[in-house]
Amino acid sequence: MILMKDVIKRYKEVIALDHFSFSAGENEIIGLLGPNGCGKTTAINCMLSILKFDKGEIEIFGEKVDPNNNDIKQRIGVVPQEIAIFNNLNVVENISFFCGLYVKDSKTRKKLVDEAIEFVGLEKYRKFSPRQLSGGMKRRLNIACGIAHKPDLLFLDEPTVAVDAQSRNFILEGVKKMKDNGTTVVYTTHYLEEAEDLCDRLVIMDNGRNIAQGTLNELQRSISTQESITVSFLDDEDLRKKLKSLPNVVNVEKSGEIYTIQFEKHQNNLPNLIKFIEENQLTYTQISSEKPSLSNIFLELTGKELRD
């Protein structure tokens, strides 16, 4: 559905996209992850022909993107990062305006507008001006304006920024529903838990480059840390040196009495650790094992926290 190949985009001396490649298949939610300024929005704007790129190829629905290719545009929906609505029009009028850019028939449009309002849960606020809506509701209206014409491909650019928990859940559930209805969603965010929960596949971006892509499992397997065990000891002794001698250990971190031990392979690490505890007659209060999180993946791949 989307094929982006070796795209380069420069803003004068700054390279925003550096041989960026990326693909998205039908009916999947693909997450574009990266810190602010890594090129997520630039990538989307290039796909949407809002920005001209310097080199590379972009195809959507099997056709090269072009500002004048209205057949492609007709099938795409966009929810921009900034809330882009008319403050002088009410909820219905706003959605109807943006839906009207795609759907000419007024009866069909009216039906689609009603469905979009229901989809984002703004039925009670149909005649409200955006000035009367909360931040979360404005975000929902922003989404409704982008999805009312029922696109096959939807770009959601950080739709949950500065949104309360209730609206956030509403938005995430809505995105899942859209996928169930057959829409492909390109979702950019820097909230890792959202991406873990929502996306079928993930593309991790840094400095305009695609540094890793795949499902969460694939990404977890691609890094050196495969298992992370956290244990809380009651003993005063500093156990870091002893713990590092265990098989497969990559790193040991100590914070108070809690040790975080990272293993490069997922192979009998927990039994080995328990055996070590018994042999050394150590006392522990809790122990837990987990796969590396997206945060760990991102940290290992880029060397920095995602929310930097």
């Binding site: 803003y11 809002i50 209205n70 921009p80 882009a84 609505i85 795609y102 304006c145």
Partner: protein
């Protein structure tokens, strides 16, 4: 037609403000129309107290002369302070005290009457004139015949002449034209102000980069988008012209003789088109509402003053008049400058206004393209 309808919907949101401004405009126009009724002459009679201390033909003649067009109260004695107070309180316009020796004083060329008037009022001049006129004619007659003949003097004073004002134009038509000209001048200013402010504010919404991007990613063609924006703006311009043009006709429906309505309509239409093209330039430069409102006021008021909309251009200095010739509002006023103006007389000014519109559109397109290219950085 989504964008077209969206713009009109935005305009509709300003309906209360538009109605208030329109009513204010018509209120002011009606007030000015009442004060622009042209030159008129009125007759008024004075209240005069005459104290006749003499038993004389000259005194009776003076009383008869003053009684012709005034309300005269003749008494035989008086209290000087009381008369002064009555004049001060404007109960009477003046008093004439006729001396008991009027005949001998007249013959000897001495002052025969004493006048009490309020020198601040016009009545003082009139009363002095009337008394002086009577004695001059009486004196002339006396010098010529050697006798005092008040009847002959009074009959001479009754003579008059018919005066026709030597004006080739019909004065009523000229007055009607002046009234409508003033109204149209003001309407031109209001059209500029209204369109610059309201369309300026609407366009700031449409020109927000996020909203423009949303339109750009849609299948709506740029040509179609622009055409819809221009159509909606033109509808608003034409709507304003129709309201102000027919409003003027309604207010002055009985005073339209000699008014070149066709030229006025074209002038209003052209100034609204010029304003829209100017607005295009402004909105391609900024999306700041405060700045747009400031520019709208600065340009419309500035041009209106320099072009003689508020003050007749003759009053303004030569330099200002020379500057005004480079302003569109000046040429707007010149399209209907005379009551009998022909299309060939207006042609130059219509052409200049059209050129102004074209130049503004070209400047607007250049700025708009610069702005679009800045999006693509």
């Amino acid at each position: 037609m989504t964008v077209f309808k969206g713009m009109l919907l935005h305009f509709w949101r300003y309906k209360i403000m538009v109605i208030i401004v329109t009513f204010l405009f018509f209120g002011i126009a009606v007030l000015f129309a009442q004060n622009q009724s042209g030159e008129a002459f009125e007759t008024s009679s004075m209240d005069i107290k005459i104290v006749n201390e003499a038993d004389s033909e000259i005194a009776d003649g003076l009383i008869d002369h003053l009684s012709t067009n005034n309300d005269v109260d003749v008494v035989n004695d008086y209290d000087r302070d009381q008369v002064v107070e009555e004049i001060y309180l404007m109960e009477i316009d003046g008093a004439v005290v006729i001396d008991e020796n009027i005949e001998s004083k007249f013959v000897n060329g001495a002052s025969a009457v004493e006048l009490f008037t309020d020198p601040r009022g016009t009545g003082s001049i009139h009363l002095n004139n009337e008394v002086s006129k009577y004695f001059r004619f009486l004196d002339a007659d006396y010098n010529y015949t050697g006798t005092v003949d008040t009847e002959n003097t009074l009959s001479t004073l009754e003579h008059g002449i018919t005066v026709n004002i030597a004006d080739p134009e019909n004065t009523a038509e000229a007055s009607d034209f002046e009234g409508m000209k003033f109204y149209t001048n003001f309407a031109g200013y209001i059209i500029m102000l209204l369109l610059l402010m309201f369309i300026g504010n609407i366009m700031t919404e449409f020109n927000q980069p996020e909203l423009r991007d949303r339109v750009r990613v849609s299948p709506l063609k740029t040509v179609s988008y622009t055409a819809q924006i221009i159509s909606a703006q033109s509808i608003m311009g034409i709507f304003s012209v129709l309201i102000l043009f027919f409003g003027g006709i309604f207010i002055r429906w009985d005073s339209l003789d000699g008014v070149p309505l066709d030229k006025i309509f074209v002038a209003l239409l052209l100034i609204s088109l010029f304003t829209l093209s100017l607005q295009f330039v402004i909105s391609s430069l900024t999306t700041n509402k405060f700045l747009i409102n400031g520019i709208a006021n600065f340009i419309s008021i500035g041009m209106a003053f320099l072009s003689g909309i508020f003050i007749p251009e003759e009053v303004l200095g030569e330099t200002v008049q020379n500057i005004a010739r480079f302003l569109p509002l000046y040429h707007f006023t010149q399209i209907y400058a005379e009551p009998g103006i022909t299309w060939s007389d207006s042609f130059t000014h219509v052409t200049i206004l059209l050129l102004f519109i074209i130049v503004m559109l070209i400047i607007g397109i250049i700025f708009e393209n610069k702005r679009k290219s800045s999006f693509n950085l």
